[in-house]
């Protein structure tokens, strides 16, 4: 009954132009999502669908074309276009996120290396490092702002610190895991060369851990953007995307698509950071191509 013999190519495995196939799929899914949205909206509005308080109308679910169109409307009367405002806000938030990422990744990596070398410190600190991620950093944000203010640092730096807080954890965990992942035979080889700890670390363990590191960096890239947006909320910083979200939330009823458009830009920022890291990974990490079952 095995009609699927191993090695028999499926209908969809066109050998020619796999890139073209991917592009087609991307567009197809995007189109499908668009259709899904508009269909849901149409069905919801005509049938009066309700889920508790939730009903479908232009306030709760604007048309996708309205959202995108809003970008090219003035953000306020006689003001600059929304997309210009959001672009500036995105750059501002990006700066905070990038600095936060840099700090968090460095701290995380260093911490990982230290913990890798000291079993005692690892056992002592790990529970607290893990528990630290259960602390809603948002709550500490106001205090961080005041602290940076008292030190004469610009307020956006406090946001960077918050972003760093969300960033360091995945990097620490994966640094530890990556450093441990070195082939024991390779370690024996290094010992046969009488290599010292420093050499072993930088010539074997760190290069071996790069795939793990970049997995963490991709998570961290996203986390740094989230951290930056969250960090702006309690700091009453107007210039970033967090401020924009609060602003358009306040005036939601007068222009629902504006908030959605802001979220769209925030989403694009997150994705951009991710893609940058993925791009760097592609350049830096040279490994045997992975085999997926």
């Amino acid at each position: 009954m095995a009609s699927m013999a191993v090695g028999c190519p499926s209908r969809f495995a066109f050998a020619w132009r796999p890139v073209l196939l991917r592009a087609v799929l991307l567009i197809a899914v995007a189109a499908a999502l668009w259709v899904l949205w508009e269909t849901f909206k149409w069905v919801g509005e005509t049938t009066g669908f309700r889920l508790g308080v939730f009903e479908v109308n232009d306030r709760t679910l604007p048309h996708l074309h309205d959202i995108i169109g809003q970008l090219f409307e003035p953000s306020r009367r006689n003001g600059p276009l929304l997309i210009e405002v959001l672009w500036d806000a995105a750059l501002f938030t990006a700066k905070e996120a990038a600095v936060g990422f840099a700090i968090g990744a460095s701290v995380g990596f260093t911490l990982g290396v230290v913990l890798h070398h000291s079993r005692f410190l690892q056992r002592g600190l790990m529970p607290y490092i893990v528990a630290s991620q259960t602390v809603p950093i948002l709550a500490i944000a106001p205090m961080v702002v005041i602290w940076t203010g008292s030190r004469g640092l610009p307020s956006w730096f406090s946001v960077a610190i918050i972003a760093a807080f969300l960033t360091f954890f995945p990097v620490t965990i994966n640094t530890l895991r990556g450093l441990d992942s070195a082939d024991p035979r390779a370690l024996e080889l290094m010992r046969s060369y009488a290599a010292n700890r420093w050499s072993i670390l930088w010539r074997l363990k760190v290069p071996a851990s790069l795939p793990y590191l970049f997995t963490a960096f991709k998570i961290a890239a996203t986390a740094s953007v989230v951290g930056a947006i969250i960090g702006e909320l309690p700091s009453s910083i107007q210039d970033g995307l967090g401020g924009a979200i609060l602003n358009f939330n306040q005036y939601y009823l007068s222009s629902p698509p504006s908030l959605w458009a802001t979220n769209l830009i925030a989403a694009l920022l997150g994705i951009t950071f991710f893609l940058i890291v993925a791009g760097v990974e592609h350049l830096v990490v040279r490994r045997a191509p992975e085999h997926v079952a």
Partner: protein
């Protein structure tokens, strides 16, 4: 036979097991005591910081004084987190089951799933507030649910599809159908991955709920109380509330870890998931 050095370590017994466990946890306990002591001491030394970073004794005192409201708020938010966790994780597993079945679907959906996981979900909290109402816990629950969805979806998918080809071929040689293969091979293989994601999700759910409340919510909610306390510069209360949030987050995580421990011990498969 001569010259054979024989090592004589202490034999295994009940005593050595407890000492081994104690050795495992001693450093953490030591760090806790040291850390708290340092915190108390440093705050006393730099009086300025007291305003922002109260000493642990003050925080615990405040917590005790306001334990009624704080626990109530914690419980309120915890329910949102658990609700969101349940919705998000089930959806994640279900979608992964569907997508794993058809390779084309998986190839098509993956880039979008990756892109979606890079979106700051929390930015949608104001929108869910608009959908379900500011005071409705459902709006926060949905944020927690979406936060839980992605790690569970991605990890379950990876677990279902990372099976060795030879395992699948073996099942096919027994003329096993797709359903049998799924039950006996793919799903058990995926369990460690699923649990790994559930642990991540448990923490995300709690944090997501608290942060989502920041955009506005019922006065009974923990996030709202933290925001209000901070706005009034009542930092001791804010820290006490943070303590509650953290404790609940850790408790949730440990609960999942316990379930994982109980479940996965039945499986001989390796627990080497991310």
């Amino acid at each position: 036979m001569s010259g054979l050095a024989v090592e004589q370590p202490p034999g295994p017994g009940i005593g050595s097991r407890t000492t081994r466990q104690a050795r495992q946890w001693l450093p953490a306990a030591a760090v806790l005591v040291l850390g708290l002591g340092l915190w108390e001491g440093l705050v006393a030394a730099f009086a300025v910081q007291r305003f922002l970073l109260p000493p642990p004794s003050d925080i615990l005192q405040t917590f005790w004084n306001e334990r009624g409201t704080l626990w109530g708020a914690g419980w309120y938010t915890f329910k949102e987190a658990v609700g969101g966790f349940a919705i998000g994780c089930s959806a994640g597993v279900l979608f992964a089951l569907v997508v794993a079945r058809w390779t084309l679907l998986r190839v098509a959906v993956m880039p979008y799933a990756i892109a979606a996981s890079a979106i700051p979900i929390i930015a949608f909290a104001p929108i869910t507030n608009q959908w379900f109402g500011l005071l409705n816990p459902l709006s926060k629950m949905m944020i927690a649910a979406v936060l839980c969805f992605f790690p569970v979806f991605v990890n379950t998918l990876r677990g279902l599809t990372s099976v060795r080809t030879s395992s699948i071929e073996l099942m096919r040689s027994y003329a096993a159908g797709e359903l049998a293969i799924f039950r006996r091979v793919r799903f058990p293989n995926a369990l460690p991955y699923i649990f790994s994601a559930l642990k991540v999700a448990s923490v995300l759910a709690m944090i997501g709920a608290v942060v989502a409340e920041y955009f506005g919510g019922s006065q009974e909610a923990l996030g709202v109380q933290i925001r209000n306390s901070a706005a009034l510069f009542a930092f001791e209360t804010a820290w006490a509330a943070i303590l509650v949030a953290s404790v609940l987050g850790v408790a949730f995580y440990l609960a999942i870890a316990l379930i994982e421990h109980a479940t996965l011990d039945w499986h001989p498969s390796a627990r080497a998931a991310d």
